[in-house]
């Protein structure tokens, strides 16, 4: 899968795993705040975009980013360089966002979702309607499917990377993505039909 939007196009010097490990080593050895600050600044933008992409809400994404880095700060002493810092960080971020989605799905039962709002949109707002329908179709996916779908289809991560982030095997990730893609497609088609009727 190609890198479609450049989210992963981090310049080489910024994703040097060796530099990450050195910063982590300094932080673990002496609690060096500058080392942690360097890690934060290096990855804040990528984690912010990742959280925003999964949560679809800038306010929640900004909160999530802060919470993720607090988890990283508290857990960095237990980090072992068997995996890259970047992979470890992204897995924390993805799991955190997935947990938030689960909570959101539990409490959103009575909410008026964008699905119900779409027929009320003026027809001339076709671009906005299309965008809302995509978002509404995404809302219909379960947190597990939605996370996998966003990572692969929206953000362009490879299935191998998605499998790694989610802690599952390649075939399990492919299977999950296939179901997510089908569900998304069906939800989108349904919304398109409803929009045309209205």
């Amino acid at each position: 899968m190609t890198d479609r939007r450049g989210l992963r196009s981090v310049p080489k010097e910024e994703v040097s795993a060796a530099e990450d490990f050195e910063l982590v080593r300094r932080f673990k050895a002496s609690g060096d705040p500058q080392a942690f600050e360097a890690l934060f600044r290096r990855y804040q933008q990528y984690v912010a975009s990742l959280c925003l992409s999964i949560l679809r809400s800038s306010a929640e994404a900004e909160d999530a980013l802060q919470e993720v880095f607090i988890k990283v700060y508290n857990g960095l002493h237990a980090f072992e360089p068997k995996v890259t810092f970047r992979g470890w960080l992204y897995r924390i971020a993805i799991n955190h966002c997935r947990d938030l989605l689960e909570k959101r799905s539990r409490r959103a039962v009575d909410d008026l979702t964008p699905v119900e709002l779409i027929p009320q949109m003026p027809k001339q707002e076709s671009g906005l309607v299309a965008s809302m329908m995509l978002e509404a179709a995404l809302e219909r996916l379960s947190p597990d499917y939605r996370t996998a779908f966003i990572l692969q289809a929206v953000e362009g991560y490879s299935i191998a990377e998605v499998a790694d982030f989610l802690g599952i095997g390649f075939e399990a990730a492919a299977s999950r993505l296939r179901r997510a893609t089908k569900q998304f497609s069906e939800a989108y088609e349904l919304l398109c039909k409803r929009s045309k009727r209205s």
Partner: protein, 525 residues
């Protein structure tokens, strides 16, 4: 593992792998290609997958490029998950600042330590307690020796007894000009409020007379404690759904508390819902939570003189700010809330603050871009807030916390701001027509300001703030005239452990000093 020869026959197996088509190894891809060549249905499925993925590309969102590190430090510090960046034993020797205006220095050996007293005629005193190797244990800057001694006494309670003894020993022998108009400080005995390390920094405090209520969170649950004068009072556990809070320990955007002078109402959001608790110090009943709104984040609450008014952000794809009156017992006084401000699109509104002066309300909030916006409202006879003027304050820096104070002809806004160059606390006056006066910068710091509060006093205006530096946390106090001219030089106290502003009124500052195994309240007058 799949037998690849089966792929040729089985559409279901092919279907499972179509989404991974471009990532398959050569062998499996060969089988898939062979199957596709003879299966129209699977070719259509692959085309559908590619169509969906093309659609999905359009959903990519790009987060704005902003520096989130100051906010991270604030949250880390506020939640007190911050371990001490450096223990005292690891502290590097601090460079001695140059004191202007001449002056003198005295060095006194003290139980293997050295106490250095330096004075500059313009800048007051500096007391520096160091080890033999020059590393600093405690350093204090103060406007007068009396203040310095008071500060030493206070910090002695929370660190060691060495500095106080030394200061008392030295005081009679040091002759220095002491400005007669300088306020004289005093420190009451410290109050140990807990013996276990379960007390994170208070989220908020409110003071009614001599009683302060502090609210904080521990392992997801919400607690409140009364502190009467300097004595710890009753402790309450507010959130009953502890399990839920533990599962989402960080999923709370804020807790605020206000007082009518006799009791308190606490508002806070948990898991997207906004609750209120009424705390009456004279009652033996346990506080009961009342659901105010759902979903809701970033709450605030004020006492208007007749009732409480709460304000919060309702998160959605187009967030709005809503308000609701609350009675003395923390229950909604109205059946429905009123929307005050709304956004178009997904822009973030956060941390709304309100000030109510009679029938007029001033609302300010942070926008997604870090600027301040809001409006002035008048309440009509039907109780509806009618917008009178829009407020819009743009600046190069990003707005943090906002405070509002009433003035005779409008209100004063004080806010913290951060930019790549540093952090600052600024103030402007807002007139009734919604115009901002030229902002005055009260405080500038190249360090991170972890906590600050401001308050009107009998002689003007006072700002207290804590800076976090690699050498420890520094508490500063500075007095301003009503016109916001500096009245005194900032007085700094250096702590080698995390501190937080626990309570603050005209008479005293109540500090929470985190000593690791236990925390103490240190009242300072």
């Amino acid at each position: 593992m799949t037998d690849h020869t089966d792929i040729l026959k089985d559409c279901a197996l092919v279907d499972e792998l179509l989404v991974a088509y471009s990532e398959l190894d050569t062998e499996r891809r060969g089988y898939i290609d062979a199957h596709l060549a003879q299966c129209e249905r699977c070719r259509q499925e692959l085309a559908e997958i590619e169509r969906v993925q093309k659609l999905a590309c359009k959903m990519h969102l790009e987060s704005p490029v902003i520096d989130r590190y100051p906010e991270f430090l604030r949250r880390l510090s506020a939640s007190r998950q911050l371990t001490q960046l450096q223990r005292i034993d690891e502290m590097p020797p601090e460079p001695t600042p140059q004191l202007d205006g001449g002056g003198f220095a005295a060095i006194v050996p003290l139980f293997g330590r050295r106490l250095t007293v330096r004075t500059g005629f313009q800048r007051g005193f500096e007391l520096n307690l160091t080890r033999a190797d020059g590393s600093s244990i405690l350093r204090i800057n103060a406007g007068s020796l009396t203040q310095a001694a008071a500060v030493v006494a206070g910090t002695t309670i929370v660190t060691t007894g060495l500095a106080l003894g030394a200061a008392m020993f030295l005081m009679p022998s040091v002759k220095t000009p002491v400005p007669p108009d300088q306020p004289v400080g005093s420190v009451a005995p410290a109050v140990k409020i807990t013996t276990r390390r379960d007390f994170t920094a208070p989220l908020v405090t409110a003071t009614a007379g001599e009683t302060t209520l502090a609210v904080w969170r521990h392992r997801g649950a919400l607690y409140a404690q009364l502190v009467n004068q300097n004595e710890p009072g009753r402790r309450y556990k507010l959130s009953q759904e502890e399990e839920e809070w533990i599962r989402t320990p960080m999923f709370s955007s804020g807790v605020k508390v206000a007082s009518d002078g006799r009791s308190y109402v606490v508002v806070g959001d948990a898991d997207g819902s906004l609750y209120a608790w009424h705390i009456d110090p004279t009652s033996t009943d346990e506080p009961v939570s009342t659901l105010l709104a759902k979903p809701a984040t970033h709450p605030d609450i004020v006492w208007t003189g007749k009732h409480y008014t709460a304000v919060w952000v309702t998160p959605s794809d187009s967030p709005v700010i809503e308000t609701l009156d609350i009675d003395h017992n923390g229950r909604p006084a109205e059946t429905t809330s009123q929307i005050l401000a709304a956004t178009e699109g997904k822009n973030k509104l956060s941390y709304p603050k309100i000030l109510i002066q009679g029938s007029r309300m001033t609302l300010l909030y942070r926008t997604h871009q870090g600027s301040m916006q809001g409006a002035i409202y008048e309440r009509d006879q039907g109780g509806i807030w009618q917008e009178q003027a829009r407020l819009n304050h743009q600046s190069q820096s990003s707005v943090g916390q906002i405070q509002l104070f009433a003035t005779d002809d409008g209100c004063r806004v004080v806010w913290s701001a951060s930019s790549p160059q540093g952090e600052a606390i600024c103030s402007s006056l807002i007139s009734a027509d919604g115009s901002f006066s030229e902002p005055r910068t009260l405080v500038v710091s190249r360090s991170h300001i972890v906590d600050w509060q401001s308050q009107s006093t009998a002689t003007g205006f006072r700002v207290v703030w804590i800076e976090q530096t690699s050498a420890g946390e520094r508490l500063f106090v500075q007095q301003f005239t009503p016109q916001l001219e500096p009245q005194t030089s900032p007085h700094a106290i250096v702590f080698q452990m995390p501190v937080a502003l626990f309570g603050f009124n005209a008479e005293r500052i109540l500090l929470l000093v985190d000593e690791g195994k236990e925390q103490r309240l240190v009242p300072m007058r």
